[in-house]
Symmetry: D2
Subunit: 351 residues, 4 copies
């Protein structure tokens, strides 16, 4: 009932605040016998960590993962895996102003309203740093999914109003935006640099494609695969929507246009995004999520303080101008967690 766990058969529980002792995850239910190393996990965490480019924050944190249980002689044992990242010491005085005011776009106000208090160092539990635990667990899921023949790939498809016109998987990890079109990436980066000077930020859209999933995954009627992916994606801070296949454009289509007709070779289109009736069709799963502009900007904004007085606030510090490239590995991780959970749930159903 409290909300820090996700998944049923492949279950993750994250813990930690940005400036507490540690962040991390307990992963319960990983198949025994999977070869896994700290490096497998670190590799994914490195894609999420700050300081990778000019688009992101220049902060540099080591973010080294420690794998403290559930692995023996290099393989998973089937018991809970603790993956933990210790927080570096921080200077809490850096947060004196935040302590007294609600930053627009941040969860400062809502956390206070919910819990009657809040850890005002950084963003506490609401910090993007929490997603490190998801990426760690997702790295394990990714390894298992690879054994199943499944590949999960996310990338920036649009940012700052600029949309990718081509798709080239090979360039995604080669540009700071993790965009699928180098030319668009270049325009995005330039626009980001301009916004940075203006002490502003920009949003974008991340797209995810999953291949190799057989037909039959998903648990109607409530735990349809698309419903669960939506749950997982919208649980990522700064993601405020999702659409599968034709998505919102389906609203403007006719049935004869939208229905994916079938032939001996398979489906003739994929407006359904690889999921019909909540169950995979065997086609590529495809969805897009909008990523809101980074809330932390140095441009002055109006807010109120704890006493209700109106104040101006500038969120100083080194922030990401666009969070898309760092959200990409988080989207992939959550997709991996949902999929691995559903492979297991389906196995249980037919067992």
């Amino acid at each position: 009932m409290p909300g820090s766990s996700f998944g049923h058969a492949f279950r993750v529980t994250t813990f930690g605040e940005s400036h507490g002792g540690a962040v991390g995850v307990v992963l319960d239910g990983a198949r025994p016998g999977v070869p896994i190393t700290t490096e497998d996990i670190q590799q994914q965490l490195d894609r999420r960590k700050p300081g990778q480019s000019d688009v992101g924050t220049p902060r540099k944190e080591p973010d080294k993962v420690n794998l403290l249980s559930g692995v023996f002689e290099g393989e998973t044992t089937g018991t809970p895996m603790l993956m933990i990242l210790y927080n570096a010491d921080a200077d809490p005085s850096a947060y004196d102003e935040i302590k007294m005011m609600f930053r627009p776009g941040h969860a400062d106000y809502t956390y206070l309203k919910k819990y009657g208090r809040r850890d005002w160092r950084g963003s506490g539990r609401a910090s993007g740093r929490e997603t490190a635990g998801r990426v760690a667990a997702g790295a394990v899921a990714r390894k298992i999914l690879a054994q199943r023949g499944v590949q999960v790939l996310a990338y920036t498809i649009a940012a700052g109003g600029i949309r990718c016109q081509t798709f080239d998987a090979a360039v995604i990890e080669q540009n700071p935006m993790r965009a699928c079109d180098l030319e668009a990436a270049s325009a995005m980066t330039q626009y980001a640099a301009k916004l940075k000077e203006e002490q502003d930020s920009m949003g974008g859209i991340v797209e995810c494609r999953i291949t190799g999933v057989p037909a039959g995954l998903g648990e109607p009627v409530f735990d349809k695969l698309d419903a669960e992916l939506a749950h997982g994606m919208l649980s990522i801070g700064s993601i405020k929507g999702i659409e599968f296949g034709a998505g919102f454009t389906a609203a403007e289509m006719t049935g004869s246009r939208h229905n994916d007709e079938m032939a001996q070779v398979g489906f003739l289109s994929n407006n359904s995004g690889g999921i019909i009736g909540g169950i995979t069709t065997g086609e590529e799963i495809m969805f897009r999520v909008p990523v809101k502009p980074t809330s932390s900007i140095a441009k002055p904004q109006q807010t109120v303080d704890l006493n209700g007085s109106e104040r101006m606030i500038r969120t100083e510090g080194r922030h990401d101008t666009c969070i898309c490239p760092r959200i990409v590995p988080v989207v992939e991780a959550m997709a991996c967690i949902v999929l691995e959970d559903h492979f297991k749930r389906h196995a249980a159903l037919i067992a």
Copy 2:
């Protein structure tokens, strides 16, 4: 782990196929002492039932609910409520063709792949008729939410490429599209009539506004209120996306534009859709869902049969040209279920 339950503290379990013995729901966790009558539930079911207008199917079904447990002397007892709708006898021979072929856009193929068999009468478990159970449980949630001062309102905001230009709550139940703009509704209805002649169908967008929810609901980090609403909405057949507040347009906004600034009077904008960090802000909750065009169309389409041979199929029968108006009460019901669940989960947290 199987998927026919939803919610934690306010928990619904639906059952039934469109042409089996019955459809319905068991609702566990309703607060004891709530006055509830069969009429309260029937009233919502009547909004969902077929045969309400020319836009929908002309089929007329009584869809009478029976409330068989959990209520005593006119009030909820706090024990499980069984709400059941018996199915009228159907002529299974009407489905002889469906039995052998996969209807495009339908879950015929995916159900067969998942379960190794499927109930081919109507759409079996994948039928929209399953949502009757959700609407029944949602009617109970709605009554309790009214006691809490919460109002949930959904309506068609766009259909067939026509978008509402004004918002008038009073007209929603007065037009067959359940649109919020009478003029747009009229254009939608005309377009629907044309498509009907062409044996085709159309999609749309349903918007939902929820007022009266205090700040503080939602269970980060995975069960953020928007994540759970997304889960609930995408579990409804034919809904393939969701966006909160600014939603996908956030991708084109700057942070200074998107962040909801605060003043003594409250938030100065609502780009977050009433939820920040997964927790309600106290502002209106607002989201939109795309509704795909009805899959069942009489226009011939290509498909394959059970033997893999290519065939043409026409889904005869009386179908909804646009499902939006009948999805509206289902969207409201799922929103009510999610909200009531979160009121209870929050109460448990701080208890």
Copy 3:
């Protein structure tokens, strides 16, 4: 969070009060493709129903089950199965006295305290009639377990202070006590007749043996198989304890005596009751549960009424002198449900 569901992968949700519209169960997660008939379920329900012998209540109720979903062409489809038993019309005036007083040993007082109200017709939700739903779902589990080679057998091992001295499986269904020793059964029946005259009742012990379960079932550390069986058994009204294998006598044993030594042929003893570390050993699973004497007795007892005044009460009506024989099929049903759930959970883990 509300308590009317049990199991994870094989999940039952019961509903209904003894004098409401119906009692029954929704079973979600049954493997698709299992041949099942109403008769399979009715056969188990008939073992639980009242009016089978002099030891039990002479009330005769048809208790006919209706299977309204989840089965198609004689086989499970993998979707939720609704099994429902309608209640015969009852004369609520028969409960006028109960309405105002708390029957000793009954849940009248605790239900009122919990829910702020209670359905005073019969025992409402606390009625033994609720277990009909469990027996129905257990009958489905039993069929699947038989496909797995598992047999579940429960019987009365002691009652009214009389203990069985021999074990003969063949006689269990041949005597009204469902005891495993005919001679003991005869003594129990005579004692029951005497107590009936005295308007009193008697308790007993039910033992359960499960064979054919392979080594490896159970989900440490919290969902050990013995912990889950304990949960299931103590959720049956009138069962207030459990012990596995040597059970309470282990308290008087030394380690060298209690440890089950191993040889090539297998374990040399079974003090563990077939479960070590919460996981099955492959040996017979064996446990015993104490069954309290029927609370409903005609002998006058002291109680208080709703106003707190002290009163004498006699629970009139036709009650079971000893509930053991009717608890036997309920114990078997719950054991089947727990086991089938764990077969599936194990399948998910290693999938």
Copy 4:
């Protein structure tokens, strides 16, 4: 579905093997605003740690807890609390023999059968050391329960065939057996010394009394409070049974004797152990659990090795002759966890 979590609204997830990197717990759902210090938790862990007396193992381990999240400025924040105990470096060569053989009474064989491998250092996940996480989470629950006026007290009531004749709460923490009768404690200790010389061990019974719980806790029909306490208790290694109130002796009682009659002052007896119909009566909750003799004994016993060859084994090392005194704080911890969970679940129901 995997088994390392327990509880719904107050939810613990333990992790760790006896000789991996660490053991501990993530506790999610603790009420925000509870003052908690490392010392509060350490105090309970010290009651569980080895090396407290001659009855227990002479091993001395620091077992220092680290509280790394969920607490800010000395109070709980309502977010997950990570409590972790790092394992001291161990010499794995000490386990060379265990590696190849199954120790009788241990979970060596069953873990191998379930997971296809096992961490043979110590007892891996099946080690009693796993309960440290439970005790840590239980310490938090205990603090909250104290705010609610609830006290939980467990103690040894019998061991090695010797039964306490008196009950004196004051002596429990004053004797190495944590028995409630000093004279009996002395006899137990002497018998333990004799068994130690004989390289053997002994079992016992732990009793638990809980006061201050109001009437109304428990979630019928499956999550009755006694069913959930049974689940929690039998999830503790070496506990193989439970009985509430009159327990197994109820089998020999008549209804007129067993029913707890009521008067203006309350219940006139407590054969129900404070729980009727799965809901608390407001009386003292009381249950007993049998504790099996320590499995690790130096006395030679017959077993088989990984190749199936018969072998003799002596479990060398420093083991507890009787585990009862160290199980006592674990029983209390699990009782606290179950109770706090049910306070929250009840709050959710009536919210």
